[in-house]
């Protein structure tokens, strides 16, 4: 039996070691990245049995040391990252990216950073992990080719700016509470300016980093310009890292009254994201731009759900389901889009055509991915939508139900621009276009999340337990 100490430490030791090895031995790097990604997925799967574990790193308990905790909120995010990294690495697009010099080491560093972030219970430690994630993600973005440099640079500026706001906020938190552990900050029960200053600073920083509307201007160019496998990770899980910290802060560090008071702000932000993202997706002319704008819209569900999370574990559960379903589906669609583009020889949205029957898995991935993004049953998106609508209605906001259904309609309408490509006259297929089995696997997982309801409830209960 492995101790929780060893298992949780392995979450960052394994990919970090892999990254160093990949850097030192570039020839074995790609194989290392694929192997470690899968090993990590297996490790995360094994950690399901340890949900609820909390360890003090270095044997120093919370106020002085840094704690890691694996709770019901952290595990789904770890699992999302694990699945995405494993399947994206094995996909043809992933192998193409990993063959570039330095990509494999960056890939594994990004994984290490995400893993460390999701289990961190310490506000300052979260700052460092956020930086690891951002820097690795920016570098991976820039590997997308000559057109990717400028978007990556903008991404870096916004991301660094966001980190600095967050760091300043952490400084204020420490001054007001003498603690860095998120739970201890929450236990201090802050109020007044001592609460407002750090909360506003950290929230602003994290929203910037997440690309949540109205701070989304950097996101579509960066996600569209990156290599397909990198885009899958960026849209699928990297933007969620900042959102995850945001959830943590507002549910664990801030008093419930504050979340209650800020709820309208988050609802407005969420709705704005849904609208702005959909508008961008309608106007996009390139395949990847459409998918990237859809990310802008879909991450709006996170602030929206946060706007109903005050005293409602249901809304948090919905949020987790949203993020997991979107991550898997978006990863699938970005990978499948690569197949579609290569089969067509271009990615102009209005003239894409059926990539032929050899690319059946690719087409299936797009179809199932759209089902999951729209939140049609039985996908994880439906689970999330229903849960959130229920939570909102219980709080008297019944208008959320038609609104969520309407958002699904919007998603369907702009995604139709992608789906309609599949029924146009077949393209003269590029024989080398990837068939898309990895994308299909991710899409199936996104739809199969509809079976995860009991598991999610169990995870949320595990979180509630001391």
């Amino acid at each position: 039996m492995v101790s929780p100490d060893a298992a949780l430490a392995a979450l960052f030791v394994l990919p970090l070691t892999g990254a160093l090895a990949a850097f030192a031995a570039p020839r074995a790097a790609a194989a290392l990245a694929i192997g470690v990604s899968w090993a990590n997925a297996a490790l995360v799967g094994g950690l399901y049995g340890m949900v609820g574990a909390r360890i003090a790193l270095g044997g120093h308990a919370a106020p002085l040391g840094v704690a890691l905790r694996l709770d019901g909120l952290a595990w789904p995010f770890l699992a999302l990252a694990g699945a995405l990294f494993a399947f994206a690495a094995s996909a043809t697009a992933g192998r193409a990216l990993l063959a570039k010099p330095g990509a494999a080491a960056l890939w594994l560093t990004l994984l290490a950073g995400l893993n460390a972030l999701f289990v961190s219970a310490d506000a300052f430690n979260l700052y460092i992990t956020l930086e690891v994630v951002s820097l690795a993600a920016v570098a991976l973005t820039a590997l997308g080719g000559p057109a990717a440099g400028a978007p990556a640079l903008r991404y870096l500026f916004v991301s660094l700016g966001g980190s600095i706001f967050y760091l300043a906020g952490v400084a204020f938190f420490y001054r007001a509470t003498g603690a860095l552990d998120i739970g201890l900050i929450g236990a201090a029960g802050l109020s007044g300016p001592a609460l407002a200053a750090p909360l506003a600073l950290t929230t602003l920083g994290l929203l910037l980093k997440a690309g949540a509307a109205p701070f989304h201007f950097w996101l579509p160019p960066a996600h569209a310009a990156a290599a397909p496998a990198a885009s899958a990770l960026l849209s699928g899980v990297v933007v969620k890292a900042a959102l995850y910290v945001l959830i943590r802060l507002w549910t664990d560090a801030a008093p419930p009254e504050a979340l209650d008071a800020a709820a309208p702000v988050f609802r407005v932000l969420g709705l704005a994201a849904l609208g702005v993202g959909a508008l961008g997706a309608f106007r996009a002319t390139r395949l990847k731009a459409l998918i990237a704008f859809s990310t802008v819209a879909q991450i709006g569900y996170a602030p929206l759900a946060l706007g109903f999370a005050a005293g409602s574990p249901l809304a948090v559960q919905a949020l987790v389901a949203f993020m997991a379903a979107h991550g898997l589906a978006k990863g699938a669609i970005f990978l499948a889009a690569d197949g579609l583009r290569r089969a067509n020889g271009h990615d102009a949205l209005d003239s894409l055509a059926d990539p032929g029957s050899r690319l059946g898995p690719t087409k299936g991935a797009i179809g199932l991915g759209v089902v999951a993004l729209m939140g049609l049953p039985p996908s994880g998106g439906f689970l999330a939508k229903w849960t959130l609508a229920e939570a909102a209605t219980a709080q008297g906001h019944w208008w959320m139900a038609p609104l969520l259904a309407g958002a699904a309609v919007l998603t369907g309408v702009y995604m139709l621009r992608l789906v309609s490509a599949l029924v146009r006259a077949p393209a003269c297929a590029d024989g080398d276009a990837p068939r898309g089995w990895s994308a299909l696997a991710l899409a199936v997982a996104a739809v199969a999340l509809g079976f995860s309801g009991p598991m999610l409830s169990a995870l949320m209960l595990a979180e509630a337990a001391p």
Binding site: E131, G149, L153, L156, L160
Partner: protein
């Protein structure tokens, strides 16, 4: 005015200057420098908050500041390389 307040005022001034520079300066290099100024402000805030009346300062924020400096250096370096890269791609 305590030393903490004085240091915090300077830190926030730096923070604000960097913030404005990040938003208003067009050249990438200036933006990066503005970010550095801003991050110095945030780190100095930590140093200010370590101050204790009539006692040695709290070592924890000092340690955090050192860590933050190193992270900022690494990020700046990556930013500089990226700026060079963008320039090279554009000139090609």
């Amino acid at each position: 005015m305590t030393s903490e307040a004085l240091y915090a005022a300077v830190a926030l001034a730096l923070f604000g200057l960097g913030w404005a520079g990040l938003l208003l300066k067009a050249a990438p290099l200036r933006k990066l420098i503005a970010l550095n100024v801003m991050s110095l402000g945030a780190l100095m805030l930590l140093v200010a908050f370590a101050w204790r009346p009539d006692a040695p300062p709290d070592p924890v924020p000092h340690a955090l500041a050192i860590t933050g400096i190193v992270v900022a250096v690494a990020a700046t370096a990556l930013g500089l390389v990226l700026i060079r890269r963008v320039r090279a791609d554009r000139d090609r």
